[in-house]
Symmetry: C2
Subunit: 293 residues, 2 copies
């Protein structure tokens, strides 16, 4: 389906809900926030909420089920630019509104195929969580004349496991930050920081940059991301490495962090999430949340 035929978050959700939408959501419903989904048994909900509160940069919690079992009524944690709570979406079904899902049982992926809904898996005991996503600040970077290279080259962003510990929260102990990386010139970094700084509920400004930053994060080989695509040089052909004379890596907290922490925690029971790239698109628009103060 073309981006033009899905101009709003609701249009994308309805197309997902009816099964019409089968692609990733990148580029759909421009200016509408997109969210990562994690669904947990209720006994893990308070620890997960605490994990997000203690690690808001990689784990920005936007909203959650208003009660265990609820898939269409959400409690929002999203604040407007003036500090008042903003409902993320009015007609939503967490079981069907991502175009594709993943299901884990006792910490293991259930099947290689990605179901179009999780209606059979969802129980009265499940709590859904929506986590902010970096698409918002990527639009802002593009508008500022600093488009991320993976967008220019139509690839997925590169993501890396780091050695930076998350602040432990109950059962979620021992996790580390996952970061996304976009290469920029050293002279561009202060502008890149300033452009992404206001997006406090979708990772905000970078957490580290430069080759020294990569080292501090414990990233040994920039050419080997754990998720997403290998980053190419500006020519779109060679691989981006430390030998690059013009660009350095810039790292942001990444929404894969909470998923990774959940997978590492060895939870019992059924856990669900959206399939990577197949996000839940919200009604809220960027200007509602990241407008001038």
């Amino acid at each position: 389906m073309s981006p033009e035929s899905l101009p709003t978050g609701l249009a994308v959700r309805l197309a997902s809900r009816t099964g019409a939408l089968t692609t990733v959501t990148s580029g759909l419903a421009p200016t509408h926030l997109q969210a990562n989904l994690i669904v947990l048994p209720s006994r893990y909900a308070s620890d997960f909420r605490l994990l997000c509160a203690r690690n808001p940069v990689p784990c920005p919690l936007l909203a959650e089920s208003s009660a265990p079992g609820s898939f269409s009524t959400l409690t929002t944690h999203l604040l407007s630019s003036t500090g008042t709570p903003v409902a993320v979406a009015s007609d939503i079904d967490l079981r069907r509104d991502a175009p594709a899902y993943r299901v884990y049982r006792d910490g293991k992926l259930v099947s290689a195929t990605e179901p179009k809904d999780v209606i059979p898996e969802w129980t009265e005991d499940h709590v859904g969580f929506l986590i902010g996503c970096s698409y918002s600040f990527e639009t802002a970077l593009t508008r500022a004349g600093l488009p991320p290279r993976h967008i220019t080259l139509s690839r997925n962003v590169a993501m890396y496991r780091t050695t930076v510990p998350l602040c432990a929260a109950g059962i979620f102990a021992g996790g580390t930050y996952v970061v996304s990386m976009r290469p920029y010139r050293p002279s561009e970094i202060e502008t890149v920081r300033a452009v992404t700084r206001p997006f406090v509920q979708t990772h905000g400004e970078p957490i580290a940059w430069g080759w020294e930053g990569a080292k501090q994060l414990g990233i040994k080989d920039i050419s080997k991301p754990e998720w997403g695509d290998v980053v190419l040089g500006e020519d779109g052909e060679t691989v981006f490495t430390e030998q690059d004379e013009e660009f350095v890596p810039v790292f942001w907290g990444c929404g894969v962090t909470p998923q990774n922490a959940v997978m590492m925690a060895g939870l019992e029971g059924t856990v669900m999430g959206h399939a990577p790239g197949y996000m839940i698109v919200l009604d809220v628009r960027e200007e509602d949340v990241f407008g001038a103060k």
Copy 2:
């Protein structure tokens, strides 16, 4: 002055304000929250606020000047156990209510003596910030039969610089976590975590533990803290080292972190803070903030 003669936060603040109190505040006004103070030129205030928002575990922001220059009217960020804002103190003067202060000019400590007030330094452009302190959870640990060793031995807690990067925020880039350490038996750690977990606005549960945790934080020699006193063995005579067969180190985010980040940022102008150990004691009581939900 005896703890009995200063039973409330206001009593401690008035004794500081009049110059009668000249000791550290540890043990005074039991169950009242104590706070770290940082005072910055207003042009750094929004970056500092962002630093706290992005790093809430080591930098829990409790309250700040309601406007530049204000030392007696505060905007609170402290929430009650039911989620409503709680005023931290009704009769307060940030310039005089700590028993002793430190003053820095262009990043350098102004003098070796610690003034009893900062009235001559405070300008219409200064913004004061109050940061949570670990005294609250230490009382809770003691009540749970797990008194921190430095309390039992009447010493200062040991604090260490780590290699864990803070999430950058504007001018505050390149900082790292500072942690406090208290030794416990491995069998006690889950209880220690559970007891300190509710104290979300004063560092909460530990961020790492065990010798593996020390390594992950980049702490090479546990016998050499950067601040506070060397930790002794349970006998109170030997020094606590990795050779200890019964106890392991447990690490919490520490309120020295924001001070350290401020010192590292190379700020221009006059910066002030309380002298270490000489805190500002608040009206709010632990049960107002950390009560049952």
